[in-house]
């Protein structure tokens, strides 16, 4: 296997594993916030804000990974 492919696979592995772990914690954070939060409106607002920033960062990272292919 060419060295470039190995590098790409390694980076893709790092990207997908770390995205999955961070995505899991994000999802659970939002779930816990909405479930136990005193104000559901505030919980949803913060969750939406967070999710939009997180997804934008994820998209940016995914784009960078795509450009390495």
């Amino acid at each position: 296997m060419p060295q470039e492919n190995m590098l790409y696979l390694g980076l893709a592995g790092i990207f997908y594993v770390s995205s999955a772990v961070m995505g899991f914690f994000s999802f659970f954070g939002i779930y816990v916030l909405v479930k136990h939060g005193q104000s559901r409106g505030l919980a949803l607002l913060v969750s939406l804000l967070y999710a939009s920033v997180f997804i934008a960062s994820l998209e940016q990272a995914r784009g960078l990974l795509g450009s390495l292919r």
């Binding site: 470039e4 590098l7 980076l11 790092i14 990207f15 770390s18 995205s19 961070m22 914690f25 994000s26 659970f28 954070g29 816990v32 916030l33 136990h36 939060g37 005193q38 913060v46 967070y50 920033v53 997180f54 960062s57 994820l58 940016q60 990272a61 960078l64 990974l65 450009s67 390495l68």
Partner: protein, 177 residues
């Protein structure tokens, strides 16, 4: 009815809902800012200092790793706020409720009836605690959980006074002393 804690009764009067003092939260965010500053420093001063690392394929790899680090920073800021928001102490005319969110997977709600209070102590420690007037309140109990703690709450002396005033209103025959 909007409930602050699960077992709240309709006729229950809420006297106080308290969280960690904002200065304590700020301290946590200052530590976060140090890690965020690392990202800014690397992006700002990295390319002129080590051009080979930020050019071509190596540059793309570094950018990808920095993006993952950025995602981690966003997540950690969110979790710092979630844990701050979900940890509350409530004082009502009937009881003290301590809602503890330790990490994402541990949520504990402890209650102490006012008549079970044995002793209340407040303390203010350190430079920031003294300046911003935050500290701890310890409630010694006659119940199964021996000590209730309000950690890093604003105005601990006022909370101590409130608890003692509420205890004074409990009829003598109901007290556990």
């Amino acid at each position: 009815m909007h409930r602050i804690f699960p077992s709240q009764q309709e006729y229950e009067r809420i006297y106080l809902v308290v969280r960690e003092h904002w200065a304590h939260l700020l301290l946590k965010f200052l530590i976060w800012v140090v890690f965020a500053a690392l990202l800014v420093i690397v992006r700002r001063f990295g390319p002129p200092a080590i051009p080979a690392l930020f050019a071509g394929t190596a540059g793309q790899v570094v950018e990808l790793l920095l993006s993952l680090y950025q995602m981690f920073l966003v997540l950690s800021a969110f979790l710092i706020w979630v844990l701050y928001y979900l940890n509350i102490q409530v004082v009502t005319d009937m009881r003290i409720v301590d809602v503890d969110q330790v990490g994402l997977f541990s949520h504990t709600v402890s209650e102490l009836h006012i008549e079970n209070i044995e002793d209340v102590t407040s303390e203010t420690n350190g430079l920031f605690g003294t300046i911003f007037n935050f500290g701890n309140v310890f409630v010694q109990t006659a119940g199964a959980r021996e000590r209730f703690e309000f950690d890093n709450v604003p105005n601990p002396a006022a909370i101590e006074k409130l608890l003692l005033d509420l205890y004074d209103k409990v009829p003598h025959e109901k007290r556990h002393d």
